[in-house]
């Protein structure tokens, strides 16, 4: 009996050890976290290999992979090639998301409200203060806008979402560029702050006449109303999945720059202007674990598009995936190698 117990214990121990060898760990951006969990779960079911991802924020992800605590980092904000060289990291995109401007105005439904891009900047700067302001009213002759104060809800924590949103606003409004600028955490001139996409969602729900910005996945989950905004050339574009995909197609990735690119304001008549990729960071010297990580993403690129769409993300186009695989090969970290 004792012998049997001992044997089982040893067997379990070796089994666990061998499992541990097949475990990779990552940390970073919270925006793609639901998708990475989903992919990791399916990957484990399909291959028995474990991926442990901690959603601690892009900043934390960069820090942890920089000090080599985790096998891969994840960031919503791409790092510039120079910084990647300094930190000895590789970088490639994993999936694309989009940011929508959501509002809570009783009586006005999804995509019904039209907001000019520069008006969005003015609202978030506190220059447009009432919903029936002339600037908003002239684009919405068919809507009955209430004379209510606009409550702006923004992120209180540093966030890749804020980075991409402020990048967009800086490019559509000179005032925004000069007074506020681009960044993961900003000096907001108006409004109230909430932590995370979840925090904004909760506040938006319970604050009438408020406006905020969230990842599309959160809009979908909470059935929020999102504004129709403008393409780069000023055409109206609805916050809908086909328009996000249209924008993603224009992305011109460059593997020589480690895919550094910000996707906002792509050309094209149906291109939704605020889409953003989220990125994976790998330590350059760790060839063996890198191969395990790329094996996971290779599997996810092949089998994970459906769960990405279900959760409100946009899978990378096939051409981009091929480009990433070529990038892996070039740097000797592709999984088959």
């Amino acid at each position: 009996m004792v012998k049997r117990v001992a044997l089982t214990a040893i067997a379990t121990a070796t089994f666990t050890l061998s499992l541990q060898a097949e475990r990779i760990s990552g940390a970073g951006a919270s925006f793609p976290a639901p998708l990475y969990y989903d992919w990791a779960y399916d990957y484990h079911k399909a291959t028995g290999k474990e991926v442990n991802y901690q959603s601690i924020g892009s900043g934390g992800g960069i820090k942890q992979v920089g000090s080599r605590i985790v096998d891969f980092g994840a960031s919503d904000k791409p790092l510039k090639p120079k910084k990647l060289d300094k930190k000895r990291l590789y970088q490639f995109p994993a999936v694309i998301g989009s940011i929508v401007v959501v509002y809570n105005i009783p009586g006005i439904g999804d995509a019904e409200l039209r907001l000019e891009n520069k008006d969005i900047a003015d609202i978030f700067m506190g220059k447009i203060r009432y919903w029936d302001d002339k600037a908003i009213a002239q684009d919405n002759p068919h809507l009955k806008l209430p004379h209510e104060k606009i409550t702006v809800i923004h992120r209180s924590d540093g966030s890749g979402t804020t980075f991409n949103f402020s990048y967009f606003l800086s490019n559509v409004s000179e005032d925004w560029r000069n007074e506020i600028g681009v960044g993961k955490a900003l000096s907001w001139p108006t409004g109230i702050g909430a932590k995370g996409n979840e925090g904004i969602s909760n506040l938006l729900k319970q604050t009438p006449y408020s406006i905020g910005y969230v990842e599309y996945a959160y809009k979908k989950r909470n059935s929020f109303s999102a504004a129709t905004i403008q393409t780069k050339n000023g055409k109206w574009v609805k916050p809908a999945e086909e328009n996000f995909i249209a924008a993603a197609k224009y992305a011109s990735w460059d593997p020589n720059k480690h895919f550094y690119q910000i996707l906002a304001l792509q050309p094209g008549d149906n291109s939704y202007p605020i889409v953003a990729a989220t990125f994976i960071l790998l330590p350059r010297e760790k060839n063996e674990t890198n191969k395990k990580v790329t094996a996971f993403f290779d599997w996810a690129f092949k089998n994970g598009d459906e769960s990405a769409q279900r959760l409100g993300y946009i899978p990378l186009p096939q051409s981009t995936k091929d480009m990433i695989r070529a990038y892996w090969k070039k740097h000797n970290i592709d999984p088959s190698n």
């Binding site: 993961k184 000096s187 506040l203």
Partner: protein, 286 residues
Amino acid sequence: MHKVVDKGFEALAKLSAFFVLIVLAAIFWVLFKEAEPAIETFGLEFLTNQKWAPNLEIFGGAPAIFGSIVSTFLAMIIATPIAIGIAIFLTEIAFEKLKTPIGTAIEMLAAIPSIIYGMWGLFYFAPLMREWFGGNGLGLLTAAIVLSIMILPFMAAITRDSMNTTPHILKESAYALGATKWDVIKDVVIPYAKAGIIGSIILALGRAIGETMAVTFVMGNVHRIPKELTDPATSIPVTLANEFTEADSDLYYSSLFYLALILFVISFIVIAIAKFYFLKKSRSAK
């Protein structure tokens, strides 16, 4: 043999006592070391600069410091009289049968984790505040009220206990001299329990000034000095909770440590003043 045990015990007790000092010094040293780049860059101007723009590498701690001090101060103003009222009711006025259930309820309130006050504040209390006072429901006043509710049971329980220690003979003598209930409370019970009341205020102050979760939910989280009480604001612990994980530039990281150092010094000063000034005064008065 006994001597060895004695000496050993003495050393152990000494070690325990010094351990506190060592931890205190270590915390201070780490905060100071990490804050050094920010201290060198901004100096004391950090205390008065109102702009907090991480993307432009401009860091000013004034809004957070202001929010911490004012929200704590407001919370104390609201909570202290109510806590003393509760304690007086429980020790001097209530029937025996009422004392136990209310006393137990207060002790249970004191045991509720602060995050629950935060959730209640955000989902239930903030909309009410919006209706009553205007604004958007989240702000300095909401934070102060939630804080005061949070520290209230704690203060009430300690105050009640210290009032309970008033010897019956003192009270009965006062009644025998013709004092009314109010006279007894004012001239016998409160002076007798003064040290305990002040002690409870100090402990509550310490808890309120460092409170993070409950306040993060309801303060509005913006780096501006509010013009009105209903405007959103921020405090030092709230800023740390919100921004620490994403602080990726060195100066940003260091500025957050600078804020932490300031909080450490503020709580230290507040408690030191309270302890040395008020407690001494009340003891010498006795």
